[in-house]
């Protein structure tokens, strides 16, 4: 277990957030890995939806794009983007999974720009469907590698809104419920990220190491002692590219 690569640990930790029977709107990369892992362990009846318009997807190889061949191969339905974003806005998507370059204590995500918007240090790719998923998914799960540079007191640009008091007045769902790293699960009951769990092999201190804001311990705190052996096996076979 201790020799598991970080990306596999992140997928294993995030998969715990997903329940069987849920409809899950996924982005490429870590989110896709976690959703696939859940589907092939404890959530066989979960439906993966990609913004390209693919429903009931089950990629055999890691897709580079939501429009890649492996997203379409073996899918249960191919429709268009309008149809899947309509489902999202109508509140019919249980959970959205997102990653980003930066996250702050409220779960605001930045995938647009590092530095000033009009005079950027690094111009990035922009929202894609991330803003839409963050606004509209009934639950939002954020996945971030434990890289302290990605955790900031305030994101440079809010591409995808986190917990925001204005959500209720706009009839939007509450936003992020958890922020998952390979070391920890953070929850948002209080409106800001609190340490809710440590992941196998990591202490509380390691879970928050380098994160620049003051993190409280959630009342429901638990230490996850180990990942299920079956989940690790599925990760090794199904997500073998994370082990190279």
């Amino acid at each position: 277990m201790s020799d598991l690569p970080a990306a596999a640990r992140l997928a294993l930790a995030a998969a715990l957030e997903l329940q069987d029977g849920e409809v899950c709107f996924v982005g490429i990369g870590n989110p896709s890995d976690a959703a696939l892992l859940a589907k092939h362990t404890h959530a066989p009846d979960m439906s993966l939806i990609y913004e390209s318009g693919v429903i009931g997807s089950d990629p055999k190889d890691p897709p580079l794009s939501t429009g890649s061949p492996s997203v379409a191969d073996g899918a249960m339905m191919i429709t268009d983007g309008l149809a899947v974003f309509a489902e999202l806005q109508a509140g019919r998507i249980d959970v959205g999974l997102l990653s980003a370059a930066q996250v702050d204590p409220w779960g605001n995500l930045n995938s647009t720009v590092i530095g000033d918007y009009h005079n950027p240090k690094i111009r990035m790719v922009g929202s894609g469907g991330a803003h839409d998923i963050a606004c509209l998914a009934q639950r939002l799960v954020i996945l971030m590698p434990h890289d302290p540079r990605r955790f900031v007191e305030k994101v440079d640009f809010i591409t995808s809104p986190g917990r925001d008091a204005a959500r209720a007045g706009l009839n939007l769902p509450p936003g992020p419920v958890s922020l998952i790293t390979e070391r920890a699960r953070f929850s948002f009951e209080s409106g800001v990220a609190q340490l809710a769990a440590t992941m196998p092999g990591f202490t509380e201190a390691e879970a928050i190491e380098g994160i620049p804001w003051d993190i409280k311990i959630a009342a429901t705190f638990e230490a996850v002692s180990e990942f299920a052996a079956t989940a690790v096996e599925v990760a090794e076979s199904r997500l073998s590219y994370l082990f190279n």
Binding site: P63, G67, D80, L82, V125
Partner: protein, 295 residues
């Protein structure tokens, strides 16, 4: 009416300097042959739009074809940043509008329906609205809720690559669509390349696969491998290596210039480009094609 012509005539006739161009292809059926021909012909001052872009947008920027880009996402999917885009934003040489993928789809859908906007719950929180775009809101006359008014975007011309069509331009398409059909039908003109022409009788065998009717199509050419290095369901797989190689080359202006010279400017036409790609790779990608085909 026969609307068929060649690739270069299609671009000469239907793309004008200054046009706003919707680019079809959400990872799948990206109209690279049309795009490269636009660069080859030196078309200028173009505005390119779609939801999630492919490296073709970054290539347009690097080639100097784009005056402006309007998008939900602009990069090299799953690999990284759009390097020409990144440089142009920093240098202040490019106009750009950051939307979201859903917003772009709604903008095109509004134009497709002929209405000035569609209401939505997105773009009311966060920093996107107000950065490079203005999004007005309204109070719903029925419920009193506050909603964002996502404005229609009506492109001058759409570029589409699809599996097959007849020469009149009844276009049959299957596989990942994204906003391809929405954006095409939103546009004033639609120009199309297909992997193959079929007779009208073939179209009539499965009219449910016709996604764009001939009366909306301005011109059409049969261009085999017209989406390479992206893929076409039933014809060939995606050349992922090309996208990784582009990521390396485009990191410097010189590298991108080499890429453009090799794949676009030094290729007299699409056939020369395919020669450069080489039979071995084409055969490999053909073998990766999915078994799903329009009957």
């Amino acid at each position: 009416m026969d609307k068929s012509t060649g690739l270069s005539a299609l671009v000469e006739e239907h793309i004008k300097n200054g046009d706003t161009i919707f680019v079809g292809g959400f990872g799948h059926c990206v109209p690279f042959a049309l795009g490269f021909e636009i660069i080859r012909q030196g078309k200028k001052d173009l505005t390119f739009c779609r939801s999630g872009t492919d490296i073709l947008f970054d290539i347009f920027i690097g080639a100097g074809s784009a005056k402006k880009v309007v998008y939900g996402y602009l990069g090299n999917p799953g690999i990284g940043l759009g390097h020409a885009f990144r440089r142009a934003v920093k240098a202040g040489t490019l106009e750009y509008e950051d939307w979201t993928n859903m917003a772009m789809i709604l903008r095109l859908e509004a134009a497709r329906q002929g209405v000035p906007f569609l209401p939505s719950r997105i773009l009311q929180l966060g920093d996107i609205a107000g950065a490079s775009i203005e999004v007005k809101t309204m109070e719903c006359p029925y419920t009193g809720e506050t909603l964002a008014c996502i404005p229609a975007l009506k492109p001058d011309v759409a570029l589409v690559h699809a599996q097959q069509a007849d020469r009149a331009g009844n276009v049959q398409f299957m596989g990942v669509d994204g906003d391809t059909v929405t954006g095409a039908l939103a546009s004033e003109k639609i120009v199309v390349t297909v992997e193959r022409f079929v007779e009208p009788e073939e179209i009539q065998k499965s009219p449910e696969n016709t996604r764009i009717p001939s009366h909306r199509v301005s011109g059409i050419a049969d261009v085999e491998w017209g989406a390479l290095p992206s893929y076409v369901e039933g014809y060939y797989g995606r050349d992922d290596d090309h996208f990784f190689a582009y990521d390396k080359e485009a990191r410097s202006e010189e590298g991108l210039a080499d890429y453009l010279k090799r794949y676009v400017h030094d290729c007299a036409d699409h056939a020369a480009y395919l020669d450069l790609v080489g039979e071995e790779l084409l055969a490999k990608l053909k073998a990766q094609a999915s078994a799903r085909r329009i009957a």
